[in-house]
């Protein structure tokens, strides 16, 4: 049932926000699976899509001059934290872009219907 995920905010405040975000998304979309497994699978997939969506928006906003740095960085097989930090610093107004990306993802998700 939506909303039944643990809400242990102390354990991981930031991810919990995403979970809540997705749960609200599902609720608004009237997606209410009755089994925990199904709901989790759906949320996992949606979370992955959200990541991709944000990533693409950030890459599109990466200035040309930073692209060379990005190329160099990619050659080093950086870990996730390095890449995240690089994008945070290198993409102008990255948080704004992130905000817009979130909003757009939600728009897209809520606009589609099965019928």
């Amino acid at each position: 049932m939506i909303g039944s995920l643990p809400t242990d905010a102390a354990a991981a405040a930031a991810p919990q926000m995403l979970i809540t975000y997705l749960e609200r998304l599902f609720e608004e979309a009237h997606i209410a699976p009755t089994t925990e497994d199904l709901r989790t699978t759906m949320m996992e997939e949606t979370l992955a899509r959200l990541q991709q969506h944000i990533m693409l928006d950030l890459l599109n906003a990466l200035p040309d001059k930073k692209m060379e740095d990005f190329k160099v960085l990619l050659e080093q097989a950086p870990d996730a934290e390095h890449l995240t930090n690089f994008l945070k610093v290198s993409v102008p107004n990255s948080e704004d872009i992130l905000g817009k990306s979130l909003a757009e993802f939600k728009d897209t998700f809520l606009s589609a219907k099965a019928n």
Partner: protein
């Protein structure tokens, strides 16, 4: 079984170029599509269409879902077996190492193993240019067939040549209609010189058409388009919604076939949501003549059906598996989830022609243009020929010499030979010019024929081909390109590559075809596209394999330039040869024409001699004139006639003529133009006749009154254009700049570019011609009218028939589920049988292998072949003679009664009584009001679940076929459709199965109505004298989601453009568009000249659907930052980032933590229990989370050497100085407001949430739209209750650096106004802003506000703008 999508390896992959790079250890975004990242990085995508393969994927074992989402700090370990996600994996997706833990998560790497997003790359391509190309080719081929056929005699061909341009246009129009109406690129015509040609749909043409469409789409999928063929990239939630719904409907079998699917895409996606988007880039002038096409939106091609086919099984399987595993109760949730998980990117395109040669377009000289006009004019082409040119010239010379002799300029001796010479000269010149035009056309035709693989035709064709350019054999070139491997080219290969590249470059720049294809492609499929695409793919590959160093590129491009120069030299040489040939042809034609003209001139001269007076010396006539003078002459003359003089006219008494050169230079003559009464003179610039001339007239006894009237001339263009209405049923020819509108009451109105209604209430007769009232009205207004109708029969195939049903609203749905042997469906829920005991029971289908069994509860299973659902056959009753049969429903009803209510199986027809009572009582109207006639034309047309109902004639009881008859009867008049009689939608009886195959002929009537303003003066007067008609005001749609198109009012103020409300999903009605070819207004002209700019105002109601994204509506993805694939036929380019590195980008960072931080800063986050109810969303600021991101910002890795930088802080909104722009409110809709005026804010305190809207949809849209704001143009700021969700709203605000979540609604409004004014200043604009508010915005309020905004222009603002512009 879990599903996984696989993809066809691309060429690059096959060659090993796409090797999987070494992946980093941690992959939080492990499932990101490589294609997506490549696209984001500007690199090539794999471009494959997803295919399904039922294949097991690894599953996740023992994973705690809570941990997966990072809720629990306990570590997660991925096993090799992963869970099957619900969604199929998109093409290009690779198996990647397991992703790491996002930075904010604790513990070792863990991540959900998901199947990734369902990404749909939808291509929507406007193929209007292709349709035009095909229609033009069809037209010229048909005409050529006629002109070269030995069956047609000399005179037939001669007359065809005389009207060649008109015939070609007729065939073009018919061919285009055939293609568009049947949605079949291979549709052709059975050309007829007179009357409407029939449409021909050859067997198999539908498949060929689909193949052609698919190849067009491959151009985009394989990214081998030309630059100008690519339009906007659209990412629009509204499009997402519609496409997802269509895919789901198709997956569930609710859309029967591709035609219906494409129809739905066009109706639900393209027309409503993409109409204002750019399908093609603007081609630079002169760069690519091929791209020129004034036609848009005629037909579209999309690749969605192909993708839908790929996903259909996938979606169904995913749903079925999820249901099997999680229970039926989850089916709806899964469906919703699957639909919402599709991410659709739309790339628009506008396909150029593939046969680029448009000769002789743009090659005709002025005189040849005249000939073209004559040949295209239905009347002129009947009379104007070299012979008649000679006769006319001779006649003119006769008259001219008479005047000249009269005036003493030439002697009488010249009057004898002159007409003969003039006739010969004119006829010879006309014949020569006509031949020149014909030669150019014939050359263009032969060039296209050769490029299409057509063999040489007659001798003329052979001679012309000597001047065709040398063409590359497309197939050979493709073979040669395929042989080029590894980037190392032999000298011969290098030369071949240069030839191919150079030829394609010239094709593009010069608009000529230099590559030929085989007849199997050029003739059978009417295109070169397949070969050209294959060439481009190979070129792309070869170029990517070639060395990439600058030195090599420079040398190669230099060689290519040399080849191009040499080829252009060859082309010029061929052109010179053709010019010589053409001059020779012209000389021959000129001599023959001159001989004919001389003969005509001689005849005319003789005729003049017989009928006209002999010329005399002028001196005799001076005395003669004087002899007529009498003091009372003027008073005696009562009848005046009007003669042109200069730009005006003069009324003259009978017997007085003004002989002039047409420019005001001339002389008044008496005795019907034989005796000069005055000296020759020129009109004064004002149009006044010189005083001396008037004195002469007075001296001759004429009381001459000169009345000069200045007229403005017609405000309408003398050039006409066609407006096709009602799906081609009615064509109106109107002056350019005027448009025809179909009004809700069924009449038509003529409007100009400003929306001014020029004519209204135009009604048509059933055959499409003007009714008498409209004819009288329009004639009274000065229009020169011509209105005629003609039959328009079209042969439709099954798809065409289906399209026809839809277009004419004939298709209706019911709940039928089954087909019986006779092709008629059974109503599952309504068919009841009365048992022998009298009780009624439902039928139950049992459907054995033959599908012909019906079980009736309580009875034994009945076996047999049923002709109807109840085992009885309807007696077909046709009335009429010969092949002209009508279907009599009344007679058929009687046959039912004769059969009795008892069925052959002993059951009773429970519907019988209803009909029988009417028939027995001879209540014809009762029968007809009860019964319905449904028609099935066979071939499963209409499709399952649908029926076609035709109306009855209420008097005769016969079915009114309308244009449908050709689908129900065959050529011999035998009925081939199965007919079903029903009560309401319930089946009663059906006839035996007929022999229809789903195709047939549609009998139609088309009309052409021409409104010619050649009496433009009267029209101007009429228009100016008439009061301005009231604006067309159509009632607003009763639905909440409406879009209103509101135009600016013309400057004259009184008139406001029509305001038409468009129902959702409907096609916007024709909006009076800016005059396409604005003419310079004549001095003093009163007609409006300003153009309009449509505004779109979203009508936002409390409950209105959110059709436009709150983040600014449709958003095109920003341009990619890295270079794309190598350009075709251009300079060699390579992606700036090596592919391996692009692949490495697939492993980019874990963003969930960052996203969550950002959400914390921008959104209220609550536990689900705290989630707001939808009815009253509230904004809950989260302060603690908002502070978090700054702490977690880490340094940039050293290698990247990116400067350390703090994440941007949220900008506090800074108060802006008071704006200078004028801000006004109106009446009771809003109060006057200044940025600092808190009174407005007070008004909004009652609203739970407020959404600022300006012109379009929201703040973002408003600010974006300001870029389009013109100096001095007013803005309308509409503020109404929010349809935005609060969290969205705050996210956008943050993105814009504007209001913060904790701001009150009042402050938000204030900030919005400030922001708008700030933007206005930045754009150097001072708009007059009108604010409208209301709990629910109505069209009336908005319209009023817009009107006020228009008229209440701030003078100082306008002055300011003017001064800026002047500076």
């Amino acid at each position: 079984m879990p599903l996984e999508l696989v993809h066809q390896p691309s060429a690059a992959e096959k060659t090993g170029d796409n090797q999987q790079p070494k992946q980093p250890d941690n992959f939080p975004l492990a499932n990101i599509s490589q294609d997506e990242v490549r696209r984001a990085l500007g690199g090539p995508t794999t471009g494959e269409t997803p295919r399904l393969a039922a294949e097991a994927s690894p599953r996740l074992i023992g994973v705690d879902n809570k941990k997966l989402l990072g809720v629990d700090a306990a570590p997660l370990q991925l096993t090799q077996e992963k869970p099957a996600g619900l969604l199929p994996k998109p093409a290009g997706l690779r198996e990647l190492p397991p992703p790491p833990t996002p930075p904010m998560m604790e513990g070792p790497p863990k991540a959900p193993q998901l199947e990734g997003p369902k990404k749909i790359d939808l291509k929507i391509v406007d193929i209007s240019a292709v349709v035009e190309q095909l229609a033009h080719r069809e037209a010229e081929e048909k005409l050529n067939e006629y002109l070269t056929s030995k069956q047609n005699g000399f005179f037939k061909k001669m007359f065809a040549r005389m009207g060649e341009s008109g015939l070609r246009y007729k065939f073009y129009r018919e061919a285009k209609d055939a293609i568009v109406n049947n949605r079949n690129l291979m549709a052709s015509i059975d050309a007829r010189m007179k009357g409407q040609s029939d449409t021909k749909i050859a067997a198999g043409s539908e498949l060929k058409s689909f193949a052609y469409l698919d190849e067009i789409l491959k151009t985009y999928e394989d990214e081998i388009t030309e630059d100008e063929e690519k339009g906007e990239a659209v990412h629009d939630p509204a499009v997402n919604q519609e496409v997802a719904a269509i895919l789901m409907r198709y997956a569930q079998g609710k859309i029967p076939d591709r035609q219906a699917f494409d129809d739905e895409v066009e109706r639900r996606v393209i027309r409503p949501h993409l109409g204002d988007k750019k399908f093609g880039a603007d081609a630079a002038k002169g760069v690519n003549a091929n791209n020129k096409s004034d036609k848009e939106g005629i037909m579209f091609a999309t690749n969605l059906f192909k993708q839908a086919e790929g996903f259909k099984e996938d979606i169904n399987k995913a749903i079925a598996e999820a249901v099997a595993e999680h229970g039926k109760e989850n089916e709806e949730a899964v469906k919703e989830y699957v639909a919402r998980s599709m991410s659709i990117d739309v790339q628009l395109g506008k396909k150029s022609r593939d046969l680029v040669n448009r000769f002789p377009e743009g090659q005709m000289g002025a005189l040849e243009g005249v000939v073209e006009w004559v040949q295209g004019n239905k009347i002129a082409n009947k009379f104007i020929s070299p012979l008649t040119a000679g006769i006319l010239a001779s006649a003119a010379f006769n008259l001219g010499t008479r005047k000249l002799v009269t005036l003493g300029i030439i002697g009488t001796s010249a009057a004898f030979l002159g007409p003969l010479a003039a006739g010969a000269l004119a006829a010879g010149a006309y014949a020569a010019i006509r031949k020149s035009a014909e030669s150019k056309r014939d050359r263009g035709l032969e060039m296209r024929r050769e490029a299409s693989g057509l063999a040489v035709g007659d001798k003329k064709s052979e001679r012309l081909r000597e001047h065709n350019y040398d063409l590359l054999d497309g197939k050979q070139s493709v073979d040669s390109l395929k042989a080029m491997k590894g980037g190392e080219l032999t000298a011969a290969q290098r030369t071949e590559l240069l030839h191919v590249l150079g030829s394609l470059e010239i094709e593009k720049s010069n608009g000529i075809d230099l590559v030929s294809v085989g007849a199997e492609e050029g003739v059978e499929l009417k295109t070169r596209l397949f070969t050209l695409n294959e060439m481009r793919r190979e070129i792309k590959r070869v170029q990517s394999e070639m060395p990439q160093d600058e030195k090599f590129k420079e040398a190669f491009n230099s060689e290519k330039s040399e080849f191009v120069a040499a080829k252009l030299g060859e082309i010029e040489s061929k052109d010179a040869g053709f010019r010589k040939y053409r001059w020779g042809e012209m000389a021959k034609a000129g001599l023959i024409g001159a001989a004919a003209g001389m003969a005509g001139g001689a005849i005319m001269h003789k005729l003049v001699e017989w009928s006209g007076p002999v010329l005399h010396d002028t001196s005799e006539y001076w005395s003669s004139v004087l002899g007529h003078v009498s003091p009372d002459k003027a008073a005696a003359v009562a009848i005046l006639h009007e003669a042109p003089i200069g730009n005006g006219s003069v009324k003259l008494p009978d017997g007085v003529e003004f002989i002039s050169d047409g420019k005001g230079h001339g002389v008044f003559m008496d005795n019907f133009g034989t005796h000069p009464m005055t000296k020759t003179f020129d009109l004064e610039p004002s149009g006044k006749i010189p005083d001396g001339v008037v004195d002469d007239l007075k001296a001759n006894g004429f009381n001459f009154h000169s009345e000069i009237t200045h007229v403005d001339g017609s405000e309408f263009s003398p050039e006409l254009h066609s407006e096709v209405m009602d799906g081609g049923a009615h064509t109106f020819e109107l002056p350019k700049g005027l448009a025809m509108q179909h009004m809700p009451d069924g009449t038509f109105s003529v409007v100009d570019g400003t929306g001014k209604v020029i004519e209204s209430g135009i009604g048509l007769q059933p055959d499409g011609t003007l009714n008498s009232a409209s004819t009288d009205l329009l004639k009274a207004h000065g229009w020169d009218l011509k209105s005629e109708s003609f039959t328009d029969n079209q042969q439709l195939d099954k798809a065409g028939a289906l399209a026809y049903f839809k277009q004419h609203g004939l298709l209706e749905q019911h709940g039928r589920i089954d087909y019986h042997a006779n092709g008629t469906p059974l109503v599952h829920t309504a068919d009841q049988y009365a048992t022998p005991s009298g009780s009624r029971v439902d039928l139950i289908d049992t459907k054995d292998a033959s599908g012909k069994l019906i079980k009736i509860p309580g009875l034994d299973i009945i076996k047999g072949h049923y002709v109807g659902s109840d085992g009885k056959e309807l007696q077909l009753a046709l009335v009429g003679k010969g092949t002209n049969h009508d279907l009599s429903v009344l007679e058929m009803a009687k046959s039912i009664v004769q059969g009795g209510a008892k069925n052959w199986d002993g059951t009773t027809d429970n519907k019988f009584g209803n009909i029988a009572s009417h028939v027995v009582n001879k209540d014809v109207s009762g029968v007809l009001s009860t019964m319905r006639a449904h028609v099935y034309i066979g071939g499963e047309q209409p499709p399952n679940g649908h029926f076609i109902e035709l109306p009855f004639n209420k008097t005769t009881g016969n079915v009114e076929w309308g244009s449908f008859k050709g689908l129900a009867f065959d050529a011999k008049g035998v009925m081939k459709a199965t007919v079903e009689v029903a009560i309401d939608k319930e089946h009663v009886l059906a006839t035996a199965v007929r022999h229809g195959d789903g195709s047939g002929i549609i009998e139609g009537i088309k009309s052409v109505t021409k409104l010619d303003p050649h009496k433009g003066i009267d029209i101007v007067k009429s228009v100016l004298d008439r009061p301005t008609p009231p604006p067309i005001d159509v009632a607003e749609a009763p639905v909440i989601s409406t879009t209103e198109w509101v135009r600016s009012a013309p400057k004259r103020g009184a008139a406001r453009g029509p305001r038409v409300t468009i129902p959702p999903g409907g096609i916007p009605p024709p909006i009076p568009m800016p005059i396409p070819t604005p003419r310079e207004p004549s001095p003093g002209a009163k007609g409006p000249t300003e153009t309009i700019r449509p505004k779109i105002v979203q009508n936002l109601g409390d409950d209105g659907p959110k059709k436009v994204s709150e983040t600014g509506g449709a958003r095109a993805k920003p341009e990619n930052k890295l270079a794309g694939p190598p350009t075709v036929a251009g300079e060699i380019e390579k992606p700036k980032i090596p592919k391996a590195k692009i692949d490495a980008a697939l492993s980019t960072a874990g963003l969930t933590g960052w996203a969550a931080e950002t959400m914390a800063a921008t959104e209220p986050v609550k536990s689900p229990e705290e989630a707001p109810k939808k009815e009253k969303p509230t904004v809950v600021p989260v302060v603690a989370a908002a502070e978090k991101p700054q702490e977690k910002t880490a340094a940039t890795p050293d290698v990247a050497q990116a400067p350390k930088k703090e994440a941007p802080k949220k900008a506090e909104p800074k108060p802006e100085p008071p704006a200078k722009a004028k801000v006004e409110g109106i009446g009771d809709l809003s109060d006057p407001v200044a940025p600092e005026d808190l009174a407005l804010a007070e008004k909004f305190k009652e609203s739970a949430d407020v959404m600022p809207v300006i012109n379009y949809d929201n703040r973002t849209g408003a600010l974006f739209k300001m870029r389009n704001l013109k100096p001095g143009q007013p803005m309308v700021l509409v503020i109404t209750k929010s349809i935005l969700r609060p969290q969205h709203y705050t996210a956008i605000e943050k993105a814009q650096g504007m209001a913060k979540p904790e701001l009150s609604d009042d402050e938000k409004v204030k900030n919005l106004v400030t922001d708008i004014q700030k933007n206005a200043r930045r754009l150097k604009l001072t708009p007059n802003i009108q604010i409208v508010r209301g709990d629910k915005l109505s069209g009336e309020k908005l319209t009023k506000a817009i009107d006020v905004a228009r008229t209440a222009q701030a003078p100082e603002a306008a002055a300011s703008v003017d001064s800026k512009l002047a500076a």
